[in-house]
């Protein structure tokens, strides 16, 4: 039992919910679907666009909390987290990260700066998420670097700036949720190896 393994055990237990990667896939699919629904390239009446996106998020939430929540409880067990250990993270998330993303999206939509500011905000948020939920999972760092790269694409004329950049950005974030979720799940299976040599127990 190495110190690294013990550190990993501590971090994964402390952040068990966030390492249940499959839970993020429905939300990623909903974001991708929303990006498609909001895309001006699709011949959908504007009045219908929101009504297409909304049910996708409702279904995603149900799949994530109910169906996949049960899957993880049955196959990986249950951990009751201790919210008092994460007061700072919760405060930063609600007071800085989420408002920051909303402000960045408003700046992109209303002011049309030369960079995609929202993409930078998402990059920072993803790296903060990775660091504050147990570290490791380097795919999120790669995703954050990708988002930084996306933010400067308008400078080269590859992507339109302002509100036109928001729809593809939502799609990219959705894709990050999906790929990140699959890789998180793989990482969790590696940390919590399947039980060998006897029948699986959901309880004792």
């Amino acid at each position: 039992m190495t110190a690294d393994r013990l550190r990993q055990i501590h971090d994964v237990t402390d952040n068990f919910f966030f390492w249940q990667g499959l839970r993020w896939i429905p939300m990623g699919a909903a974001l991708l679907g929303s990006a498609a629904a909001l895309s001006p390239n699709l011949p959908i009446p504007n009045s219908l666009r929101t009504w297409i996106a909304l049910p996708m998020f409702v279904v995603a939430l149900w799949l994530s909390t109910s169906v996949l929540g049960r899957y993880y409880a049955r196959h990986f067990g249950r951990v009751r987290g201790d919210p008092s250990r994460h007061v700072t993270r919760t405060s930063v998330k609600w007071l800085i990260v989420y408002p920051g993303i909303i402000v960045a999206m408003l700046v992109d939509a209303k002011l049309g700066p030369p960079l995609v500011v929202s993409s930078l905000a998402f990059a920072l948020a993803i790296e903060a998420y990775r660091e504050s939920t147990g570290g490791g999972r380097w795919h999120y760092l790669v995703a954050a670097i990708g988002l930084v790269a996306f933010s400067v694409l308008p400078l080269f004329g590859v992507v339109q700036t302002g509100k036109h950049a928001l729809t593809p950005l939502i799609g990219i974030v959705g894709l990050i949720y999906i790929v990140g979720g699959v890789l998180d799940h793989r990482e969790l299976v590696r940390v919590l190896s399947p039980i060998q040599g006897e029948e699986r127990v959901a309880s004792l």
Binding site: I9, T13, D14, F16, G77, R78, R80, D82, V201, L204
Partner: protein
């Protein structure tokens, strides 16, 4: 001053055993975890994990409670205040030993 190797013998063996150290480390990071989670974490068989938990429970380092989640029985394990301070003390001791062993050099004639 004692040698790092001599200090190793002073470690709490109940806590230092790898599976029990893993269990206590996990439980120190949450309010409670169930049997299945600890089994996947440690890779132990049901019998072995039960045996380790019984030792930790006897030493009043953990509390083992049976409950029902819906209609399914579930065993929930949480760490006691004493268990938390024991594992924190152990981690601190291990860290000190690591430092001491890095600085230690055998006497040369």
């Amino acid at each position: 001053m004692s040698l790092p190797f001599e200090e190793l013998a002073e470690l709490d063996r109940l806590v230092h055993e790898p599976a029990r150290l893993a269990i206590l480390t996990a439980l120190a990071a949450c309010k409670a975890a169930d049997f299945l989670y600890l089994q996947r974490l440690t890779g132990l068989t049901k019998g072995n994990l039960s045996s380790h938990l019984a030792k930790l429970e006897d030493a009043e380092l953990v509390i083992v409670e049976k409950e029902f989640v819906g209609k399914i029985p579930n065993t929930r394990i949480s760490i006691t205040k004493g268990g938390r301070s024991a594992v924190e003390r152990h981690w601190k001791r291990l860290s000190q030993l690591r430092q001491a062993s890095l600085q230690w050099a055998p006497d040369t004639p």
